[in-house]
Amino acid sequence: MRRGGASIAALLLLLGAVITTSVITTATTAPTRGGGGAVAPFVWDIPAPFPRPPVPHDNPMSSHTVELGRHLFYDTRLSGNGRQSCATCHRQELAFTDGRARAVGSTGMMHPRGSMSLANIGYAPALTWADPRVTALEEQALVPMFGTSPVELGLDPDGASLLQRVRADDVYQRLFAQAFPADSAPFSVTNIVRALGAFERTLVSMRSPYDRYRYGRDRNAISESAKRGEMIFFSGQRGGCFQCHGGWNFSGAVRYDGDTTVSAGFFNTGLYNVAGAVSYPSSNTGLHAITGRIEDVGRFRAPTLRNIAVTAPYMHDGSIATLEAVVDHYAAGGRTIASGPQAGVGRDNRYKSPSVHGFVLTGTDRQDLVAFLEALTDSVFLRNPAFANPWPHEP
């Protein structure tokens, strides 16, 4: 089953004239929006040497769009029953995850997978755990809003009730007019997901102690243990973690302003090897659920490891509780589950990525790797008021 049961395309069909997708392109045309009204410029807060995330030509950044997006992100009126907002499952203090193994939607339905961190999500070459087709934040937002399998925010399919609620609020009357000054009818689902996408693009995290050590020339910014952990992480013969979690975002290659050509990587890490032809639990077969190809079983995206210390539990289904246990899983070259319906030796999964070769942990290696991962926690990001709930009280 594909995530959400309904593909974006199906959602778009469902929503018909209401939605137009925003697909990131490399078009070099000047930014326009509905005839091109004046928009307030957005000032990025990105330290050197990091690049800006790519911005789709049909959703240029403006401070008003971002501010609108922030209000929407924290607004429980974005769920059908008014119980949840985006921020329910994406809490800033947890790097925009929710602390649960698997997310729970507004009607109580459990998601097969865990909420992903939104740190640096604007750079991700694909969004979600295992769907290479969802590459634009504006498209992705439709999935939690309107998806039915599972129900997340659980909005009515046509978006009419959402627009009615939003339009009735004086705050939104002002914000929509400011964000979309050239739009004679600014209240639309398209503009809502544009604003959400613009806000999400601002969620940049590059101010961890490790960044000060590696890019800020502060050789004392991280502990000696973390420095040893860095060596293990980046050694192909030892941890080899960088082979999937490489680059400055610890996520593999990223898209950025200037190069949006990168494709996402998906990896089977030997987390499962259950009995039967499909060696992963049927609710979560990874990329295989999209492609139907058996060699794609168990392949999930390597998410950023930035702020990983605050996003437990781990893996796509939250089935590993601690960073130490994650390190042990990789050191073993895959997880062994001794008994029960998921019993199996993950190390022997025939579709496992060759990068997950296992490694020997000696001495302080395990704690050093964990210390390194903990040095990726960006407390500025976790507390940045620009990303916090703008509403004076629950709307």
Binding site: P49, F50, P51, Y213, R214, R217, R219, K227, R228, E230, M231, F233, F234, S235, G236, Q237, R238, F242, Q243, C244, H245, G246, G247, W248, N249, S251, G252, A253, V254, Y256, D257, G258, D259, G265, F267, A302, S353, P354, S355, F359, V360, T362
Partner: protein
């Protein structure tokens, strides 16, 4: 003489098959030797007339070169010495001497963790081929440190970063035909 180039390849290549391919040999996994020596160095050994142990100070006194790379949107300027100049200093057959049996010479670059990659002597010789092979000791004006080790190779003309070996400790010259 300073040569500059810009390349779009990812040095921190997050490639699932980074260790696959003919250019890479897997050594038996060995415990990395955390070089406890006060002065990191690169050894040049094997089929050379003069084995070398080069420190940062030695490299500083040789002809300097730099290359610029872009990886995931971050541009880095690496400085160091062309590998060919290092090999020349060790007496490896380059230029006019690179003919006949000498053309069967290759160089194993080894890292402190046992990672090894191979280059032919021919591809390393600027009089033979157009690749760029820098033995780098600094990035953006700062000495290399941490996960790169004090020395690394930077090969901007490679499409992938897998041969831009970090934690470089030695270059071993091997001749197949005597």
């Amino acid at each position: 003489m300073i040569h500059r180039t810009t390349s779009r390849y990812a040095l921190a290549a997050a490639m699932p098959f980074a260790l696959a391919g003919a250019s890479v040999l897997r050594a038996n996994p060995l415990v990395a030797q955390q070089a406890a020596t006060a002065t990191p160095s690169v050894r040049v050994t094997g089929a050379v007339t003069q084995s070398l142990t080069l420190t940062a100070a030695d490299l500083a006194s040789m002809p300097r070169a730099s290359v610029r790379t872009t990886s995931n949107g971050i541009t880095t300027t690496y400085e160091g010495v062309w590998v060919a100049d290092v090999l020349k200093k060790a007496g490896a057959p380059l230029g006019n001497a690179l003919r006949g049996a000498a053309l069967s010479t290759y160089v194993i670059a080894m890292a402190s963790d046992g990672y090894q990659v191979v280059f032919s002597l021919g591809e390393l010789d600027p009089e033979m081929a157009n690749g760029q092979y820098l033995l780098a000791d600094s990035a953006d004006g700062q000495p290399l440190f941490g996960e790169t080790g004090a020395f690394r190779l930077v090969v901007p003309t490679d499409k992938r970063g897998a041969r831009s070996i970090r934690m470089l400790t030695s270059l071993q010259v091997v001749t197949v035909r005597k």
